[in-house]
Amino acid sequence: MSDFRELLDSHNITRRSFLKYCSSLGALLAVPAAMTPKIAAAIENDNRPPVIWMEFQSCTGDTESLLRANRPSVGELILDHISLDYHETVMAAAGEQAEASKHATMEKYKGQYICIVEGSIPAGADGVYCTIAGQTAVDILRKVGGNAGVIIAVGSCSSYGGLPAAYPNPTGAVGVSDLLPNKTVINLPGCPMNVDNLTGTIVHYLTFGTPPAMDRFGRPKFAYGKRIHDNCERRGHFDAGQYVENWGDYGHRQGWCLYKMGCKGPESFHNCPTLRWNEGLSWPVMAGHGCVGCSEPGFFDTMMPMYQRLPNVPGFGVEASALKIGAAIVGTSAAIFGAHGAVTLARNWKQVREAKEETREEIQQTIDADSDADK
């Protein structure tokens, strides 16, 4: 019997519910139902490649997401089973012992192990903002990531720099793919990432030996292939024209659309509305707050202000909203051409007066000439 079966048995989880979980995982990954046995076999395989989880400049939110269990489900047991060869935050070993186990894994499974990275990597000042065991995060990532079979960047920080990379980015924080441009990096952005997507990604890799299909930002399409806005349960209110105008107003209590409160759902790709959080209980928009676009490249800066639809432009003394700049453009145009028109009118006035004068003189001359002729 495999180690994993024993683990399931020790938690009184039947094979039936394990297979049920595998088929729902298959649904998440959008693979045919016939793949379920293959998925189960891949998870049960004792020769699976190990996982090294590294944490750099982060809030540990992704580890929290990983550990959020309040009752062990099959999914968590899978992660327990496959992920924890080296995880700085949760492993029991410490110091030299921990380093030694990491190196042993790296040696033995060179080019095969799965490297998971949490947190951004501070590349500024030669990387001194984050060092572990005397080595900078940049060097550790190059070594551990460089020798991995595949790298999974969990959370927005390790994917794209995230919060630490927000303006003015004092530590020069960057994402994993910025430092390892030639490695396959699967980005699972989100603040934090949703652990079910991590399970799905790992299982996909174990089952097929390849990363899942990814979009242009290196995100698996099964999890980031649809816009929040297009799967949101408030979408009907959006198209109907029913919007929350103030926190706690009638519309807010009715669960209307949060577009006017700065919801970034129309610009964010993630499966939050369908997968949800905390065992599928809820997700931010369901709870009554707009999406903040945490899983998009460029988050934090491009998604702010949080309660405004479009970004402000810095550098005009105070930050200027898009509408103010637009009004200034139209106003400037009106002022320029209004002034031009006023000058033109004034000049015409002079010309018209002169022309009138000339005409009057001409008429006078004609009259004079006529009366001369009459004489």
Partner: protein
Amino acid sequence: MAESTNATLTTPEQPAECAARRFLYIWEGPVRIIHWVNFFCIIVLSVTGYFIHDPFMSAAQHPYIMGHMRHIHYVAGVLFAVSILARLYWFLGGSYYASWRAIPNPFNRKDRETFWAYFRFYIFLGQKTPHLLGHNPVAFCAYTLLFLLFFLQILTGFALWAQADPGSTLYAVTGWVFGLVSNQWVRWFHFMVMFLVAGFVINHLYSVVLFDFKTKSGEISSIFSGWKPDHRD
């Protein structure tokens, strides 16, 4: 000179002449139709676009209002794109005054002088402007910038639309935009271009009235009828 009312034979030397003497056929049907389709589309796109930015009416006024506004915006957007493409076609293969052949040549002394004459006129430093049948060269520069904005607006518009289905062909064609700037800034840009176009419209209306009056060149009536008075002596 051959007397001809056949529009397609129009060349700078031999524009078709009108029954009313000394009028020349300058803007062919397609140019005028495209102009007014653009006029109509820009108004509709700006009104519906502004509504999308800030839905100032709610379901209380009209059920499904945002859905309809967006629908109208997309239909007008497609029409606008077709119209701009048609103009591009006419620019490549159309009649003399509407095509690339009438682009002022910066290496030609006469063209340069014409440009500066008009430029001086705009900034009140000159009174005399040579009579022209097509665009004046300063206006031509403005139209070039304007059409650049149109292209960018159409590109960003379709890219925003494509976000509803990143697996679509439309996204494959336009999605590269989001690799250059994040989608929030694409939206910001799409919003800002509306104001740039509005600023242009103010300029455009003012300038055509100014030149219609100053140079008696039939600027305004020509975009309805196609005919301009011939002042060449």
